[in-house]
C-alpha cells in the first residue's frame, strides 16, 4: 500500500505566506473490468463511487455524490458518475472539487469516502487508487492505493476540517464496508 501520507497524519493546508489553500480535489481512478464472454454486457463492470459528506458540528448537512453532484452552496462539485472505470493509468475517473474559500461558514468538516457500488472488494479491482490534490498547483497531498487492499468495499479516505482561519487535511484511510456513503455513516462518526 503506497501511502504518501501515513494514517492519521495531519497536514495544514495553510500556506506559510498566510494565504490558505483554496481548492482541493479528491480523485478516484481504477481499471475497468476486462471484457469477457460473448456479449460485452455480461462483463461484470466495476463501479466505484467517490462521495464527500459535509458536516457542521458533527451533523451531516449536505452530501455530494453521484445523485447530488453539486452541494447546495456550490462549493463542492462532483465531476460525474463513472460506472465502469478507466484504463487504469493514473487518471482520475471520478473527482470531487472543493472550493474551500466558498464552503459555508458553519461547515467545519468534509469527509471523503470511496465505495464499491457494484460490490467488488478492493482486492478484485485493478489499479485502484484515490488521492487528494491541491488544485491550485496539482501537487498530490495524499494517495492511497486501494487495489489489493483486502476484503473491503469502502474506505473513509480523509477529511478536511477547519483549524484557525484555514483548513487542515487529515488522512484517515479507514477500510470499511458499504455500498453508498449512507452505509458508512456509523463508521465516519468516530472520526469527526
Amino acid at each position: 500500500m503506497t501511502v504518501n501520507m501515513t494514517k492519521g497524519q495531519a497536514i495544514s493546508l495553510q500556506k506559510n505566506d498566510g494565504t490558505g489553500l483554496t481548492a482541493v480535489r479528491m480523485g478516484l481512478g481504477w481499471q475497468a473490468a476486462p471484457r469477457r464472454g460473448l456479449f460485452g454486457s455480461r462483463t461484470r463492470e466495476i463501479d466505484l463511487d467517490a462521495s464527500a459528506v459535509l458536516f457542521a458540528d458533527k451533523q451531516p448537512v449536505d452530501v455530494v455524490f453521484f445523485r447530488h453532484l453539486v452541494s447546495d452552496d456550490g462549493s463542492v462539485r462532483h465531476t460525474g458518475d463513472n460506472l465502469v472505470g478507466g484504463v487504469g493509468q493514473g487518471g482520475d475517473d471520478e473527482a470531487i472539487l472543493v472550493d474551500l474559500a466558498r464552503v459555508p461558514v458553519h461547515i467545519d468538516q468534509i469527509v471523503f469516502t470511496v465505495n464499491s457500488f457494484t460490490g467488488q472488494t478492493f482486492q478484485e479491482v485493478q489499479n485502484a487508487f484515490c488521492r487528494l490534490v491541491d488544485e491550485t498547483n496539482g501537487q498530490e497531498l495524499a494517495r492511497y492505493t486501494l487495489a489489493g487492499g483486502g476484503q473491503y468495499t469502502a474506505q473513509i479516505m480523509a477529511k478536511v476540517h477547519r483549524s484557525g482561519s484555514g483548513w487542515t487535511l487529515t488522512a484517515l484511510g479507514t477500510p470499511t464496508n458499504g455500498r453508498t456513503f449512507q452505509d458508512l455513516m456509523p463508521a465516519i462518526l468516530p472520526h469527526l
Binding site: 447546495d72 462549493s75 466558498r102 458553519h106 498530490e140
Partner: protein
C-alpha cells in the same frame, strides 16, 4: 510503476544513466555535491553548480529555473565517489521568494533517459529554509540507490555546504550566487505553471538528452532504431537482393496508400456547409488581474460563448446560479445556528444544576453569543458575495443588447430592427428577499418553449397591499402588451406575428400601443365568432405544419402560409369560450410551441374554476408570470423561491411606441 518516496525512504536504481527532474514553480538553483564513502566533499572541485556546471558523470543547469533536468551518469563517476547529493536553493537577491515556505513544495523525480519515472519525491514541510538537500544517490555494496532526504537549511547554501563538511563553504556559496545572478540577468521569465498531465506528455514526447560527452552514443543508438523512410516504389525498383525488404514495403504500401492518393481525392471537409460560425470567435474579455487580497473587477461578457450575446447570456445565468448558491450557503448556516442555539438553550434549561446560581444564564449567554458569531460570519460571507455580484450587475446591465435589457435601458432608444433572432429574451427580473436590490435578469431561450400565462388574479401581493381586481387586470394587460411588444421587436421584420382574442373588447384601452402602430397581424378578434375564427385558423396551421414536418414534406405547405412565428394573446378567458374553443386552446398550448405557435393567456385561474381540475394541465403547461412582484419562480439548482418582477416601461416614457413604430416601418419595407 514509479515509487513515490517519503522522506528517508530509499529505492534501488537499475539504470546508470539517469535524469533528475526538478519542478519547483519558482526559479531555484540546482546543484550537486559528490562525496566519498564517508560522505566527505573533497573541495570545491567536487561540487557541480551553475558556475561549474559539468563534472565527470554529472551536469547541472547554468542558471536558476523553475524546472531543471540534471543529467547523471553513475558509470562515469570516479571510483572515489560514493554519494551524489542533489541540492536546491532559492536564488539570493532579485524579487523572488526568500524561503521555501513561500513557494509550492518542490517536486523531484529520478527518470531514465526515456523519461520513465523511477522514483519521485515531493519535498513538503519546508518553511524558513532557503536551501535543501533534495535527494541523495549513493553506492551500497556495489549498487546505486536513491534516498529522499528533504533536509532544509535556513542559512541557505553556505550553511548547507558547511554541514556537508566543505571547508570553503561560504566562499563557494558566494560564487554560486554570483553565477546565478549573472545567469538570471539574461534568463527569460519563468513559464506559467504546468499541469501535471501536460508535464507528463511533454516528458515522454521529447527524447531525453544525454549528458555531454556521451551524447554521441545516444545518437548512435537512436539512429539504429529509427525507422528508415523508404519509398515503396523505390524499393520495388531495386535488385532482388533486397526482395524481403521490398515485399514488406509493398505490403505496407497496400495498407497505407501513399499520401498523394488521398490528396488527389481531396480531403473530406467536415465543416457545415452553411454554418458561418466556424471561425474562432474573438476572445472573451477577461477581468483584469486585481491587486492581491481584493476580488477582481468584473467585466461584462466574462463568460464562455461564440458571440458577445452568448457570453452575456452565460454570464447572466452564471450570476443567477452564484446568487442562488451563495444564498443557500447563508440560509443553511443561519438554520444551523438557530437549531444549535435552540438545542443548547434546551440543554441549559433541562439541567437542574443550572437553576442554582448564574450557571443557567451563563449557558444561555454563551449559546446566544455562539449563535450571533456564526450569523455574523455567514452574513459577512454573504455580503462579500453580494458586493461582488452587485459590481458585476453594474457592468453587465449597461452592456446588454435590447433583447436582454430592461425597458429602462437606454439601448432601447437606439433600437433598430434586428437581422437575426436573439438567443434569449428578458421576461423580467428576479431577486431574493435577503438582497432585494440585487436583481438578476430573467432570460429565457427563444423560440419560446412554453406559452406564457400573465396572471391577472391573486389580488394579494407580496407586500400585503391589496390591489383591486380591476386595477390588477389592467396591470396584467399592460404587462402582456409589453411582453408582446418585446417579442415583436427582437424578431427580424416579418418573422413574428401577434394575434389577439379579446371577446368582450375589455382590453381595447391596453391594446392601444399595439393597435395604433399597426403591428398586429389582424385587429383584435371580438365576440364568439371572432374567437372561433382565430382559434380555427391557428389550429389548422399547427396541424398542417406538423403534418408537413412529420411527413418530411415541408416544401409542400401551401404558398400562402405565413412562416412567421405566431403569438396568440388571449384575454378574458374563459368568458365567451365554448368547450370547443377551450379544447382548441389546450391543443395550441401542447402542440403549438414545437411549430412556432405560442400562447399568452391573460387570465385569472379563479375565473375558470367552473371547469374543475380539467384545465389544470393547461395552466401547468404555461409559464406563470405576474404583473406585480411575486415569489413563485424556483431556480433549477437549489429551488429558492425567487421574486419575479416584470420589466416595466418607465412611466411617461414613449419607448414602447417608438420601438413599435420602428417595427411597423420595417415590416412595410419588408413586404
Amino acid at each position: 510503476m514509479a515509487a513515490e518516496l517519503v522522506r528517508g525512504q530509499n529505492h534501488p536504481l537499475s539504470q546508470m544513466r539517469l535524469e533528475i527532474r526538478v519542478a519547483a514553480g519558482k526559479p531555484v538553483v540546482a546543484a550537486a555535491t559528490l562525496g566519498d564513502e564517508h560522505g566527505r566533499i573533497h573541495g570545491v572541485a567536487w561540487v557541480a553548480h551553475p558556475g561549474t556546471p559539468t563534472l565527470p558523470g554529472l551536469e547541472v543547469s547554468k542558471q536558476a529555473a523553475a524546472d531543471h533536468r540534471l543529467a547523471v551518469d553513475l558509470d562515469a563517476m570516479p571510483e572515489a565517489v560514493h554519494r551524489v547529493s542533489v541540492l536546491l536553493a532559492l536564488p539570493l537577491g532579485g524579487d523572488g521568494p526568500a524561503r521555501f515556505g513561500a513557494v509550492a513544495a518542490p517536486f523531484v523525480a529520478v527518470t531514465g533517459l526515456d523519461g520513465t519515472e523511477v522514483a519521485s519525491y515531493t519535498i513538503t514541510g519546508l518553511d524558513a529554509e532557503s536551501a535543501v538537500v533534495a535527494l541523495e544517490l549513493y553506492r551500497r555494496q556495489g549498487a546505486w540507490k536513491v534516498r529522499a532526504v528533504g533536509q532544509g537549511y535556513a542559512g541557505g547554501l553556505a550553511e548547507l555546504l558547511t554541514d556537508q563538511g566543505l571547508p570553503q563553504a561560504t566562499h563557494l556559496a558566494g560564487s554560486i550566487n554570483e553565477a546565478v545572478a549573472h545567469g538570471l540577468a539574461r534568463s527569460v521569465a519563468a513559464p506559467p505553471p504546468r499541469t501535471p498531465d501536460a508535464d507528463r506528455t511533454r516528458q515522454t514526447a521529447t527524447p531525453a538528452l544525454g549528458p555531454e560527452g556521451s551524447g554521441s552514443t545516444t545518437q548512435g543508438a537512436s539512429g539504429a532504431v529509427a525507422p528508415q523512410p523508404t519509398s515503396p516504389y523505390g524499393a520495388q525498383g531495386t535488385s532482388g537482393a533486397v526482395a524481403p525488404q521490398s515485399g514488406y514495403d509493398s505490403g505496407a504500401a497496400a495498407v497505407n496508400p501513399p499520401a498523394g492518393d488521398q490528396h488527389a481525392a481531396g480531403p473530406i471537409d467536415y465543416s457545415h456547409p452553411r454554418r458561418q460560425t466556424g471561425a474562432p470567435p474573438q476572445p472573451a474579455p477577461t477581468a483584469p488581474s486585481a491587486p492581491p487580497g481584493q476580488p477582481a473587477r468584473p467585466v461584462a461578457g466574462d463568460a464562455t460563448g461564440w458571440s458577445m450575446e452568448e457570453r452575456l447570456y452565460n454570464q447572466v445565468w452564471g450570476m443567477f446560479e452564484d446568487l442562488a448558491r451563495t444564498m443557500a450557503a447563508y440560509r443553511s448556516a443561519v438554520d444551523f445556528a438557530d437549531s444549535r442555539m435552540g438545542k443548547e438553550l434546551d440543554q441549559a434549561l433541562s439541567d437542574p444544576r443550572s437553576r442554582i446560581g448564574g450557571q443557567g444564564d451563563a449557558a444561555r449567554e454563551a449559546a446566544q453569543a455562539k449563535h450571533a458569531q456564526l450569523i455574523d460570519q455567514a452574513r459577512a460571507a454573504l455580503d462579500r458575495d453580494l458586493d461582488q455580484l452587485t459590481a458585476e450587475c453594474e457592468v453587465v446591465e449597461p452592456a446588454l443588447p435590447p433583447a436582454f435589457a430592461g425597458w429602462d435601458n437606454p439601448v432601447w432608444h437606439g433600437y433598430r430592427v434586428p437581422m437575426e433572432i436573439p438567443m434569449a429574451l428578458r421576461l423580467g427580473d428576479l431577486h431574493l428577499p435577503e438582497s432585494p436590490e440585487l436583481r438578476i435578469p430573467m432570460l429565457v431561450r427563444l423560440p419560446l418553449e412554453r406559452g406564457l400565462w400573465i396572471d391577472s388574479g391573486g389580488a394579494e401581493s407580496l407586500d400585503g397591499s391589496f390591489t383591486d381586481s380591476h386595477e390588477l387586470r389592467r396591470l396584467a394587460l399592460d404587462t402582456a402588451v409589453a411582453h408582446a411588444a418585446r417579442l415583436l421587436a427582437v424578431y427580424p421584420a416579418g418573422e413574428f406575428a401577434v394575434h389577439v382574442i379579446d371577446p368582450a373588447g375589455s382590453a381595447a384601452q391596453a391594446l392601444v400601443p399595439l393597435v395604433h402602430t399597426g403591428v398586429l397581424a389582424a385587429p383584435p378578434a371580438v365576440g364568439a365568432a371572432g374567437v372561433t375564427d382565430v382559434l380555427t385558423r391557428l389550429t389548422q396551421r399547427v396541424d398542417l405544419v406538423q403534418m408537413a414536418v412529420r411527413g418530411g414534406a415541408a416544401d409542400s405547405l401551401p404558398p400562402g402560409l405565413d412562416t412567421a412565428e405566431q403569438l396568440l394573446i388571449v384575454n378574458d378567458f374563459p368568458h365567451g369560450f365554448d368547450d370547443r374553443a377551450v379544447t382548441q386552446l389546450r391543443y395550441l398550448a401542447d402542440e403549438g410551441p414545437s411549430v412556432g405557435v405560442h400562447l399568452m393567456m391573460v387570465a385569472d385561474r379563479e375565473d375558470a374554476a367552473g371547469y374543475g381540475p380539467l384545465l389544470d394541465p393547461l395552466w401547468r403547461s404555461l409559464m406563470r408570470l405576474t404583473p406585480l412582484p411575486d415569489d413563485h419562480l424556483a431556480d433549477p439548482w437549489v429551488g429558492h423561491a425567487w421574486t419575479y418582477e416584470p420589466s416595466r416601461v418607465p412611466p411617461g416614457s414613449h419607448v414602447l411606441r417608438q420601438v413599435l413604430t420602428e417595427v411597423a416601418t420595417a415590416r412595410t419595407k419588408h413586404r
